[in-house]
Symmetry: C2
């Protein structure tokens, strides 16, 4: 389907989500803006009628759907016939040749959300779902606590949908993420503190103002959007699950929802059941889940983040417990890498595949490399890495490590001297050469 | 088609391009790396066997093709069964609601190449075609003269394809465009001069070195990639042509190739013939084509560029003559806008549609507004504007004009004071408020 304008929905569509349910204890709640169980204090999740989904969808109906996340609408918690569709999703799954060869892998794929629409990160998926649901629930102002990508996405999609928007970020964010929020003209609050402090403030604000916080009171709906990263990979592999996935871990939500996506495709008969290994990537400067994994703990001890990978710098990850559980039961690993390794990861992906990712993506590539070197990924395994954001947003991180152009006069002999010089210099020694 | 990996081509595909031909005089040349007719000095263009195309394609075969520019392979000058496919093309055609309402238009569409893959500008289209052809012609080093977007795209896609790459840019480019080239590790030459001087140097280099310059000796193949911006719009409108298009003018190539794309779809029976008005957008600081249009000249007098819209700052536009011809014969207009109007155009598009474009896109939006206000666009016309690049690459242009975040402490009362203040201040008066 390539028609312009807003989404077409498959005929005969009826909502398939039935209630909210607490992850522990199975306490049921109505489909409102709620996110924590008052009895068990565990997070709430959306529950579906999978029999109804099975009756509504098939591979063929999905393939005939819109070229966006809304082809999986039956699996998403929205009622609208016309959800907010800005072309989000269906990003490329690239078969890697040059990176795979460099690492000695035979079946490596890159899920490239660095070019997701409209704001170049996977957050456009969760925000498209959350703001559609926010409108259904009657919210006119939407908000979020963000490490940057979510701010970009919430501000942009709220602008498109004509919703008022107030966004909260830590005050030390990368310039590209600040500008890439301000341009959509939301109210932007830069909080002097780290993400976890921003998040706590937003919980307070949420209790006081009647706003829809996409990742707080709307979180059960919002987080379901990440399942589409699982759905798309399965469909793009020809309706098969991979053997192994490597994804970044911030709150742990993305990772657990990819898992849930695969399970739902199995449950509804869209793919065959098989074991998929789930590995996770953290930056060493904020690696509470990796640390718990290595120490064999099932609880996560919060840390104070200190890393260039700001978009995944969540010291107190809400879904850390569930991420640990999935990594262990699928025979995966959770590994961390240093900031210099993250920069090398960004450069490696760019040089071999032509994909410029932000620090979170560099973390994932560096962890992939580390796992391969440790023999924890079989070269024959069909492995998918998730690249979740674009490098143009975190230019500061690599600015000093990519060299400089060779500055020349607009004359052939000036060019020739520079070319000669570039061929004799090692790349790392490059300087701003004025010939 | 949503399968991963490299492109599948429609079965039975055979090349449909037959020779090169001079735009004036019809002198024929073989399908080599040639770009100027030695007899007439006019540019060379690719010629096709349209009867063969008509026999190969239908709306159905195109719709069943890959979700990229390669669904139109029969119209592109490549022989390979596996062209370089990094997901380029099939960007959203967004039906505008909020911008349309603001301007008083009823049928406005936005073709959003700000999210084109992999490097977020329409240049990925032309480079995918040029590098595929470069490999077919045996080149191992590729090159270009660029105002930035082309540099990003050539370096990225060359990295993906494993080609050596040397890129030339003016030395005063935006930081994001320089970094967004360097990260792919090409040889990057920053020339102390404007684009026209860079281009002249590259012509000299091209005569001396056996490199494939995508926009010089490979230009006839390269420029054909822009036709896909015409093809996609026609297909996305439900196999109909629009009434009016507004596109930016740099060399004039994009504009003339959209026109050629529409004509080819008519010629091969894929859409019905109809009149489409072609309007063009330039920045006042580099508006040689707009000036010639207003003065009724059919030749373009070169200018020295001085505008923030660097990606379209070509003072001596190669296809200016042809752009003027198309604007006149289709009853279109060519208009220019000032740098402040360009910035307002960027902000207007972001605030109303959630699309963050670079200066070229701001120019197009501002020209659209100007044409509407002058009564030169009928509110009922189906009008398509072409947004050709992403705002994250030209952050300098808007940095000072989008305000600042409100800096607060991580406390509810600090937030509330800031919110109160933001509601009483006009946006333009916002300062870095420390509460």
């Amino acid at each position: 389907m390539t028609q312009a304008t807003q989404t077409q929905t498959a005929p005969g569509f009826a909502p398939t989500f039935t209630h909210l349910v607490s992850k522990e204890g199975g306490v049921k709640y109505p489909l409102k803006a709620l996110h924590v169980c008052e009895e068990t204090f565990s997070p709430l999740e959306v529950a579906y009628d999978y029999e109804a989904i099975r009756n509504q969808v098939s591979r063929a109906t999905i393939e005939a759907g819109p070229n966006s996340i809304w082809r999986y609408k039956a699996f998403l918690p929205v009622e609208s016939q016309n959800p907010i569709d800005v072309g989000t999703g269906m990003t490329p799954l690239v078969k890697s040749h040059r990176l795979a060869r460099r690492l000695g892998l035979k079946n490596l794929y890159i899920k490239n959300d660095a070019v997701n629409m409209p704001t170049l990160s996977f957050k456009d998926r969760v925000v498209s779902v959350a703001l559609t649901r926010a409108k259904e629930l009657g919210f006119t102002t939407v908000s979020c606590a963000s490490t940057g990508n979510l701010a970009n996405s919430t501000a942009a999609i709220a602008a498109h949908a004509g919703l008022d928007c107030c966004v909260f970020i830590p005050s030390d964010l990368e310039a590209g993420k600040v500008l890439g929020t301000l341009v959509y003209n939301p109210t932007l609050m830069a909080v002097k503190g780290n993400y976890d402090q921003v998040n706590r403030l937003c919980c307070e604000v949420g209790n006081t103002y009647g706003w829809g916080f996409v990742n707080i009171n709307l979180r059960p709906y919002y987080s379901e959007g990440s399942k589409t990263l699982g759905f798309e990979v399965a469909e793009q592999l020809g309706w098969k699950l991979p053997d192994h996935v490597v994804a970044p871990l911030a709150s742990g939500s993305l990772y657990t929802k990819i898992y849930k996506g695969f399970q739902e495709f199995i449950k509804t008969g869209l793919v065959e059941d098989k074991a998929v290994r789930f590995s996770g990537a953290q930056a060493e400067g904020c690696s509470p889940i990796a640390t718990a994994f290595k120490e064999g703990r099932d609880f996560v001890t919060p840390v104070k983040p200190n890393t260039i990978a700001k978009s995944i710098a969540i010291g107190n990850p809400a879904d850390g417990y569930y991420a640990l559980d999935i990594a262990r039961k699928t025979n995966g690993n959770i590994e961390s890498v240093t900031d210099p390794e993250i920069i090398e990861g960004i450069k490696l992906l760019a040089e071999t595949e032509g994909i410029f990712t932000e620090t979170a993506g560099g973390t994932t590539v560096a962890v992939l490399k580390k796992l391969v070197e440790a023999g924890k990924i079989d070269p024959e395994e069909t492995t998918v890495i998730y690249i979740t954001g674009n490098g143009l947003k975190t230019q500061e991180a690599v600015q000093e490590y990519v060299g400089q152009p060779l500055t020349i006069e607009p004359k052939l002999d000036s060019f020739e001297r520079a070319l000669e010089r570039s061929r004799t210099l090692e790349r790392l020694d490059w300087q701003q050469v004025l010939v």
